[in-house]
């Protein structure tokens, strides 16, 4: 099948392209990119007023399978990804059981193939059972296809074990992704510690709970020369520490989640559990500084931390509610609304953070529109309004704080290996 995407602005940061070009796809690959291409047999996609970018890559999702299929499955997660413009997703190993061996990585690969929508890559756990006590068989995980290791949901609290993980992972050139949170400092906290936690009478999570681990991890990256990737950065202090690490030339990268550049703690005032996440929503100042860190490329990746939870997990007392929100479908609208349209990031800067940058960190030959590459392509309109309703979500869960909002930024077509896997009904 041949596809011809016409009249769109091709945004391909990997090749420093941002101009009006046509993209011609044949046999699942990008065949040609140029001005005024025509082909009589090709199916034409009119990308007028749209950008044409590499398929988005999310390096931080939770697809809950195996173990929590009532929240999400690889199938429903893949549909959510496709709807959000993502053609590649790396999913975190905090499943039940945790992804800590070859067989489970293979299970995810197999499921992903069976579903056949997007590429779902496994992230293996750093330690067996994510218990922080013994290293997982990292070499075997990588051999089976794991693209990174992480105990996401918890930090590896034993500094010696993390040191060895960073050292050992160097042999495979994979990043060690750390969820930075000191569990003693975080305690039973359910939101950011500050004025609003005082007002609501909810236990707070101090910023230092994140920052002390970011600092420690950076020092261990310095010690080992290992590749450290800091997940979901939420505070000013973390940003300063990452800046320092980069100034030292350390192998440290970082990501921010869309909710951390679009929402602050004041939104929790009604105890709506869809605003409960970890790390928690922080102050207005932090939100501002996350945006700036994205602009300055201190944070080079936007990752969704897509964390589906069912109603039984969320429609409960705030203290008992699960942490996290679904993020794949709302990521692009939020990037448009809060980063591109206000001019915080240029189109190319923004797209790089969801394509080439995560691809580089995960060593994936993806995230660009080079000729002969697999045709993973998104056609999206930065200025088109989308109304976020419960029905908007393809995910099995709808735990989103953005329900009821109208945002700008609409994914129109998503193409995976030359095949249209999502098309906006309102296109």
């Amino acid at each position: 099948m041949k596809l011809l995407i016409k009249n769109g602005i091709v945004v391909d940061p990997a090749n420093k392209t941002e101009e009006k070009l046509d993209v011609f796809v044949a046999n699942g690959k990008i065949f040609k990119i140029g001005r005024s291409i025509s082909d009589r047999d090709a199916m034409i996609i009119d990308a007028k007023n749209c950008i044409v970018s590499p398929g988005f890559i999310d390096m931080h999702s939770h697809f809950r399978e195996p173990g929590y299929e009532y929240k999400e499955t690889i199938e429903s997660g893949s549909r959510a990804a496709a709807k959000g413009g993502y053609t590649t997703v790396a999913c975190m190993p905090n499943t039940s059981p945790a992804i800590d061996n070859q067989a489970l990585v293979e299970f995810i690969n197999l499921k992903s193939k069976q579903v056949g929508l997007v590429d779902v890559h496994a992230i293996g756990s750093i330690t067996k059972g994510r218990e922080g006590k013994e290293l997982s068989p990292i070499g075997e995980l990588v051999k089976a296809g794991a693209v990174a290791i992480s105990d996401d949901g918890s930090s590896v609290m034993n500094s010696e074990i993390l040191r060895r993980a960073l050292e050992y992972a160097k042999m495979f050139n994979i990043p060690v992704i750390e969820h930075c949170e000191d569990p003693d400092l975080a305690g039973e906290g359910v939101m950011n510690e500050g004025y609003y936690s005082t007002l609501l009478g909810l236990k707070g999570i101090p910023k230092a709970a994140e920052e002390v681990i970011v600092a420690r991890d950076i020092l261990l990256a310095r010690e080992t020369g290992g590749r450290l990737h800091i997940a979901h950065v939420s505070t000013e202090g973390s940003i300063e520490l990452i800046k320092w690490a980069k100034k030292q030339g350390l192998n440290v990268t970082a990501e921010a989640a869309p909710h951390h550049f679009s929402l602050d703690e004041s939104t929790l005032k009604d105890y709506d559990t869809n605003f409960k996440m970890n790390p928690p929503l922080r102050t207005k100042e932090d939100v501002k500084l996350i945006r700036k860190a994205l602009k300055d490329n201190v944070i080079e990746v936007i990752a969704t931390d897509h964390a589906p939870h069912a109603e039984v997990d969320k429609r409960v007392e705030f203290n008992n509610a699960a942490y996290g929100i679904v993020g794949l479908e709302t990521a692009f609208p939020l990037i448009c609304e809060y980063l591109i349209r206000p001019g915080v990031l240029s189109l190319s800067q923004a797209i790089a953070k969801i394509t080439v940058n995560p691809a580089q960190i995960l060593n994936l030959k993806k995230g660009s529109l080079a000729v002969d590459q697999n045709a993973d392509i998104v056609v999206a309109n930065v200025d088109k309004e989308v109304k976020i309703t419960r029905d908007f979500f393809a995910s099995r869960s709808t735990n989103s704080p953005f329900i009821g909002k109208t945002l700008h930024g609409s994914v129109e077509y998503v193409i995976k290996k030359g095949k249209i896997i999502y098309q906006n009904a309102q296109a």
Binding site: G201, V316, E317, F318
Partner: protein
Amino acid sequence: MSFRHLITLQELPKEDIQEILNLAQSFKQVILRPIKKVPTLKGKTIVNMFFEPSTRTRTSFELAAKRLSADVLNIQMSTSSVVKGETLLDTLATIEAMQIDMVVIRHSASGVPLFLTKNIKSSVINAGDGMHEHPTQGLLDMFSIIEKKKKIEGLNVSIVGDIAHSRVARSNIWGLTKMGAKVKVVGPTTLMPKEIEKLGVTVCNDLKEGLKDADVVNILRVQLERQKKNLFPTLREYATLFGVNSEKLKYAKPDCVVMHPGPMNRGIEISPNVADGINSVINEQVTNGVAVRMAVLYLMGGGKKDEAFN
């Protein structure tokens, strides 16, 4: 005035607070009579749902409801295990199906009363939620102050103790600052919630300084479990630094009013001679609690003031 729910004093307008306090005065007369019952809420059903152990507040609400001739159902939920939200919603649905009119709820998790208002049709009264608010306690504390001082405006009120974990402190702060009192919160740095001064209070970490010129001293209960979390080193040290005894009370005005929401740890946050001394209104607070809750239930039941006392 009639309001549908009573969840916080933060959101209750000053005029409504004033009306409740005025009406409570009339109800206090009722409960001091030999026949302590009025028929105003006859036919209404009130459910006391307590997800946390409480004797004082629950019996106070129960008595208030009974003296208004309402039918009262007491439900004490298990507290040994974490109460799952599913159970909470299911329990609510069951109770609601019994055609009740009002729910009085006490829960260890902040925000649960608000959660109820979104999920049931009945009126909801917050009888204390986590560390958030305890509005009827705030109201009865204000009532007790007015009884002795004839006013609230311009008074120096010192709230002493574990401010961070106290719903009583928060409701007092909202209510008292609205009514024009100057509020000081006094306690160790580790038991002060962040940015509490933004609520319009002065923070003080020294007891003598904190009690200085106080017209009212409201002493909060200190929970033993806070010590286990290293929020202070020992109970003895807490008593030394923040326990109110007659020596320390001398820094307050001689005619100050001493209050405590109970139950007291005698010898820790309050010495027995202060608890039982001439400045103490601790037992009157209990009586006043019934009057104030009668006023709240009455107004929420949709009653008009003149009907109550026929």
